[in-house]
Structures are given as structure tokens and as C-alpha cells.
């Protein structure tokens, strides 16, 4: 990731952040449902400078077979960053960070997907981070939910995700790369707005118990904003005038 610039002002006296946003303002978010021909469902998200592509296959046969479960379908998630997606080239093999994020995203999606309807099968979610700029796991989770819905897989809700955090002693919404590197706390939140359930939550950084509660609350409110954009992306594809 990028180097640290000690002179950068994270929050100025007017409450404006280093990239010109207000404290409760997310970056520009563009979500597109569909787009891939071969995948059963797909989505593309631009979340600030993050560019992430998600393809979904399934429910389909499980290979290797011993992984299958006779009671329920299984969800498999691979979160992968391209070598060119970050400042310094990333080695292509999955890192420990990518393996952990894959697991966290899988567990964030599982409560949303009605896997019990497809015993002995697998649903595969492939996440490719083409360009990274802080908050990739949230953007990836948001796009993965849209891709699963696009694949027509029965779901209880979609998971929307965004990070809240603490910068210059202030709780903010949607932590960007600079704020992640130089800020005080970063809390990715994944949330199912209709079911009111938090399915992804991580934190690094120091928060008082009051800030912690506020941070969760800011994150949940941010997820509700993202949720509307997810629904709009699906609406645009299936009910809009676009040709794809």
C-alpha cells in the first residue's frame, strides 16, 4: 500500500477530510449487476478508487466430492488481489491476509444465502480486486451480494458493507486508504438491513466503549446507504432500459 505522509491533514477545521468528503459521507459508489457472460451471476463495483469484479457459479457439483454436505449446500469464497492492484507488485499466490478475508466474507454471506435449499452442491464466489484503495473487503462483500442475487440464488437479504472508523479523534464513515494508514481505528461493518443483522465486523484501532457503540452505529447507517445502491443496481439490470 502507499507510504505514509506525515504532513497530510486528515480532517481540517471545517470538518472536511483529506479527499474532500464530510465526516459522514461515503466515497462515490457505482455498482453494476451482471456483465460477465459465463458466470451464473456477476457484479462490478467501483468504490472510490477500488475496482472489484465478482463472479458467482452454482449451485453446482462439488469438487472434490468429500467437501459436499448432504444436509446443505456449501458456500466457497475466494478473495484475490491482482498483482497490479496495489502500489508495489503483490505476489500472485494467495497471502494469509487474502485467506482470512475470504473466510470472513464467506461467513458474512452465509446467513444471507438459503444454502439449505441445495444440499450436496456448492456456490462459488470469486472476487477479483483489480485496483485497491482501502476498504476492499467491504466493497467486495457488497458486490458479492449483488452477484449472488444476480445469479438468482434464493437469499434472505443482501449484505451491504462499509467501514466506519476514527480519524483525528472523530468517528467517520467509509475509511479510505490514507485514513486507514494514518487514522486511529478502522471498523469494517457488513449488515443485512432488512433482517437487521450484522454479519461482518472487524476492528483494528483504539476506541473507548462509547466510541465503539457510535462506530457500529455509523457503520450500520452507512450500510443502509450502500443497500439502496445494491438494489438500484439490480433494478437497473432487470427493470431498467439498459440492453445488457
Amino acid at each position: 500500500m502507499g507510504g505514509r505522509d506525515a504532513t497530510m491533514v486528515l480532517l481540517d477545521e471545517n470538518g472536511i477530510r483529506c479527499d474532500g468528503r464530510k465526516i459522514d459521507e461515503p466515497r462515490k459508489i457505482m455498482i453494476k449487476a451482471g456483465g460477465l457472460k459465463n458466470a451464473d451471476g456477476s457484479a462490478y463495483i467501483e468504490f472510490g478508487d477500488n475496482k472489484i469484479l465478482v463472479g458467482v457459479f452454482g449451485p453446482r457439483d462439488v469438487h472434490p466430492k468429500h467437501m459436499s454436505n448432504t444436509d446443505t449446500g456449501i458456500l466457497r469464497v475466494r478473495y484475490h488481489m491482482e498483482p497490479f492492484s496495489v502500489g508495489e507488485r503483490k505476489r500472485p499466490a494467495p497471502s494469509r491476509r487474502e485467506i482470512e478475508i475470504s473466510k470472513v466474507i464467506k461467513e458474512a454471506l452465509e446467513p444471507a444465502v438459503m444454502l439449505e435449499k441445495f444440499p450436496r452442491t456448492a456456490v462459488d464466489v470469486f472476487i477479483e480486486v483489480l485496483q485497491a484503495d482501502g476498504g476492499t473487503r467491504c466493497a467486495a462483500l457488497t458486490a458479492a451480494s449483488v452477484a449472488l442475487a444476480d445469479a438468482g440464488i434464493p437469499m434472505r437479504d443482501m449484505v451491504a458493507a462499509i467501514a466506519s472508523g476514527k480519524v483525528a479523534d472523530t468517528i467517520i464513515l467509509d475509511v479510505n486508504n490514507e485514513e486507514d494508514q494514518a487514522g486511529q481505528a478502522d471498523m469494517p461493518v457488513g449488515y443485512m438491513p432488512s433482517l437487521k443483522k450484522i454479519t461482518l465486523l472487524q476492528l483494528d484501532g483504539v476506541l473507548t466503549p462509547e466510541e465503539y457503540k457510535k462506530c457500529v452505529d455509523v457503520g450500520v447507517k452507512g450500510c443502509e446507504i450502500v443497500y439502496e445502491l445494491q438494489k438500484k443496481a439490480l433494478h437497473d439490470k432487470y427493470f431498467g432500459n439498459r440492453k445488457d
Binding site: E100, E107, L207, V220
Partner: protein, 272 residues
Amino acid sequence: MTSVSVIDQLKKAQILELLEQGKRVDGRALDEPRKICIEINAIPKANGSARVYLGDTQVLCGVKIQPDKPFPDVGDKGMFMCTAELLPLSHPTVETGPPQAPVIELARVVDRGIRESHMVDVSDLVIEKDKSVVGVFADVVAIDYDGNLFDACSYAATAALLTSKTPTWEMVDDQPSVVEGGDKPLPVNTIPVSVTMGKIGNYIVVDPNGDEWESMDSRITITTDSDGNIVALQKGGSDGFTQDEINQCGELSVKVGTKIREQLKSSQQESQ
């Protein structure tokens, strides 16, 4: 595996039935962790070490402190790293080979809790700026498994770090060389305590044991520091939490963590 899952479902039903009466399988209160036994200096050849029993879960941590090349962009800071591993003798299902996702997550969550609390004062671990710094490596191995390795590994690493002695180095001919009799306690800022809670049905239980671990729908690990701040958190498992539950877990982690911190402190005093 199929036969195992049938037994697990029966166990889960029993665990849930008991919870509805406000009880747990091993008789603990819902917010009560298991008995923690900390045995410091279990490996005298390490710079610091601790064996921790959390109920029947047993883990061992050894700390090695040695000179290392600094990361290019942080030449004015020492290094801290914590790893965790499941030994094949800890459970029949553990296999040899490269670590799988759950173990990688375990290691990273334990490392993150201690790192984000800024427990180890890395700014004090520089031999010569940009040339040579001190690396502190806390390696935890799980020896016997009965659930909740997150907390057991975290307590072992914290106890081992609290009781670690670091040698002193000076630069001789551009190489770090140990100063005789220069051993001193590792500089430490705070005592992080991780508290893992499982959600079974609609019940939150602190420090799930092996059976509860297999039965729970989701879990959350929250690390607090000596000032009562929340410094790291990880949610896991295939279900979600409501916002109220997340707030409740935050409060629980501070409350339960305070008592455990006292125990870690007394093992530090014991070593002096």
C-alpha cells in the same frame, strides 16, 4: 464426518435446552470464563514463555527476541510478530501440512489484538536507526483442544511477553553484539485481554468450551486494553449479531477482561 455431525446436533439441542433454563453444560454462568491457569517460564531457553490452561484447552507460547533488519519504511521501530499453530497432537482432526483458513484466522486475530493494543513498545526496540532493530516473536502452539483457542493463545502470548527479558545489543563493526549482563524486562505499554463470546440460539456465552464451540452459530472476539478501550475485534461464524448484541458483547468484554487482566498482572509480578 457424518456420524460426528449427528452427535453434534444432539449436543447442540442439549446445550440449547440448558441455556433456556439459564444453565451451561459445564455449570458456568453465561458470562463466566473457564478457570485460567498461567504457568510462566515454562521454556527457560526462550526469552519469555507461558503455558496457559483455559479449562482443558492448553497452549504454550515462547518469545524469542533477536536483532533483525528493520522494514524499509519504519527504520525507527522494532518489530513485533505473533503466530499461532495447531499441533497435530492437539486434536484427532488436525492434519499436518500448510495451515488452513481457520488456523490462519486464529493466528492473525491473536496477533492483531496484541499489536493494535500497542502492548510491545516497538519505538524502544531500536539498536541503530535504519540498520538494526530488535524483533520480538511470540509463537504460540496449541497442545490440547477444548474450544476457544483465540483467548487461550492470546493469554499465553500476553503472559509470555509480560515476563520476557530482552538482552541489550550494541553495534560493533556494523554488527549487533550482545552486551553482557544487559538483560532487562521487555518494554510494555498495556495489557491486552481478548474475550471471545459465542452466540448459541439467542444466547451469548463467554469463553465457549469445545462442545459449545461446535454448537455455536457465530462468535465474536473483542480485545480491550488496560484503559478499558476496545482495540480489536473479529466476528466469525455463519450467523449475524443484532446491533444490541454487539453493544452487549462490547460491555461484556470490558467487564470480563478486567478480571483476567488482574490475573495476567499477578503472573507478571510473580516473575519479578
